[in-house]
Amino acid sequence: MPVNPDSTTDEIREELIDTVRRFTARKITPIASDFDAADEYPAEIVAGMKDLGLFGITVPPAYGGLGLDLVTYARVVEELSYGWMSVSGFLNTHFMACFLLMEFGTPEQKTHWLPRLASGEIRAAYSLSEPDAGSDVQAIRTKAMQTGQSYEVNGTKMWLSNGLHAGLVVTLVKTADTDPRHKGMSVLLVEKPPGATHFEGLTVSKKIRKLGYRGLETVEFIFDQHSVPVANLLGGKEGHGFRQMMAAVELGRSNIAARAVGVARRAFDESIRYAQQRKAFGQVIAHHQAIAHKLADMSTKIAAARLLLYDAVQKKDRGERCDLEAGQAKLFASETCWEVVQEAMRIHGGNGYSAEYPIERLYRDAPLMIVGEGTNEIQKNVIAKRLLERHAL
């Protein structure tokens, strides 16, 4: 991705991140638990993110964005997740859609979509999964048949994060039955009015009730003879969809790792404060070695996860291949996050279980990082495959 050269100096990046940190502390952290409990869409936070310019971070200036690098993007995600993981979710699918357009879009598609995405005028969702296809992406069944100047789309898509409020949904469909299956897959740029539950042949059929990641809607789509113009075929050529979506997922992995680091940092900060305030048996619990050792382990693992993450995104920023590193960062950071929030729960005792404290929310948010953007089992498959290629005899 092209990076705006005079805008990513360390000094500027620190100022940008500092602004996000203040925004998080004032606008996100204080309301996260209430909005989480009500599973309510935080419209004001999204509007604030738009004013800050977060929706165009990685889009080149030529299309109205800021052209910032992935390190900056990951730092932003980390800070937002520190306040509330769901908020980083407003960026993620959008960011992947922008990436797909920047990387594979035709010139017309770029000029048509990117400026509106960069300004946040419209937000984007990203749709691979179906009721019967998650890890096995090639098992998708949603079909798009070309008739004249449009595709007729039929099928059911599931797990569309931001699906309701999005104005653009990048959607993986089958445009042909082929062997291997992925050669018949394409990405359609599905346009819809943000917030609409019915639009021509497209229905937002269900809002999924979730353990965590609340406030941000995750929905199901039914396509019933829904018509999409041929001009909305990403890149203008059929058959490249699988490869295109997988390239975006690779970026998504760094995004998940950044989220995991943010949530884990929050759990640690809450814990080290609590451990120095709460007394048991005549001393603060931080002075009980069992608790102190937990803090030591938590902090060490978070530091390691952070290094893996920034090693991966720096490689990507330099234009190097980083699928192995991004996979390792996602795997380690998400498992670390899950361990850290469990330890935070123990350190907080009964209060960890209470909705008066943020730990129970972190505890419900953390598992998504293990499942999203490729489960950790799949992650290990990807890592191992790449290692065996690299070390082939």
Partner: protein
């Protein structure tokens, strides 16, 4: 409309702070925009936007050519800045500061309004804006909570204990604003990136034609911790305690 905003750059109040041997605050660390001044910056930007043109110029005095806080205000949308930085000003008192700032304001070119905060977060002296008004021969309006510009004059709501006074003053004028009266905007990412390229004129005392070698009249003799807060009054609830609370609030003139 051209507006000058005074912005103080101070050590982060959330961090640890040290005193120098002369009991003034050690400022040889990273300084940030005083939150009290962010309200003035926001008001200036809003006034400029409604007036449909003009420039917002920042004026600051800080050691070590510090521009971090200025950059925050430039990122919010101010056009340019003047920074007075000079070792000779280390430990300067409020009147000397006002003299320096007044001279710097004169360098800013034609202005319609000068805006400052009621008091800074690190010093709490609260005399600088009024002193500047005197030095520049401007009308001074303090404790402003709302400012409206009309033909050649301003109409200010001046906060009082009971509510507010409506005050009119001809332009140009010096106004000090109360903290918290507007919500300062967050600088956008675009603003932050653009701020680096905005002009910031860094000058010393001699550039202003001032001589501070004789020092200043104020000397801090000692500093003590603020007294710990006295224990509050406890009211046992015997079913009628609300009456005592009402009485308490009435005595305080809160209700």
């Amino acid at each position: 409309m051209n507006i000058v905003v005074l912005v103080k750059q101070i050590p982060d109040p959330a961090g640890p702070s040290e005193l120098e041997d002369d009991y003034t605050l050690d400022r040889n660390c990273k300084l940030i925009l005083d939150e009290s001044d962010s309200y003035g910056v926001e008001i200036a930007l809003q006034l400029r936007e409604t007036s449909g043109g003009g420039e917002v110029t920042l004026v600051s005095m800080a050691p070590n050519k510090e521009v971090s806080g200025i950059r925050t205000a430039l990122a919010m949308g101010a056009e340019k800045a003047i920074l007075v930085t000079d070792d000779a000003l280390s430990g300067a008192d409020a009147l000397t500061t006002a003299k320096v700032l007044a001279k710097a304001i004169e360098r800013a070119g034609d202005y319609d309004l000068v805006i400052g905060a009621t008091e800074s977060t690190d010093g709490y002296v609260g005399t600088v804006p009024a002193a500047i008004a005197e030095l520049l021969g401007l009308p001074s309006v303090t404790f402003a909570k709302k400012i409206e510009v009309q033909e050649g004059k301003i109409v200010v709501q001046r906060q009082t204990e009971a509510g507010y006074d409506l005050i009119e003053a001809p332009l140009p004028a010096m106004i000090s604003v109360t903290a918290g009266v507007v919500e300062p905007r967050y600088p956008s990412f675009k603003g932050i990136m653009a701020a680096k390229k905005k002009p910031c004129d860094i000058i010393g005392v001699s550039d202003l034609g001032l001589d501070v070698s004789a020092g200043w009249g104020q000397e801090i003799l000692s500093v003590e911790d603020a007294p710990a807060r006295a224990a509050g009054e406890k009211i046992e609830d015997d079913g009628e305690s609300y009456l005592k609370i009402v009485e308490f609030l009435e005595n305080k003139k809160i209700i």
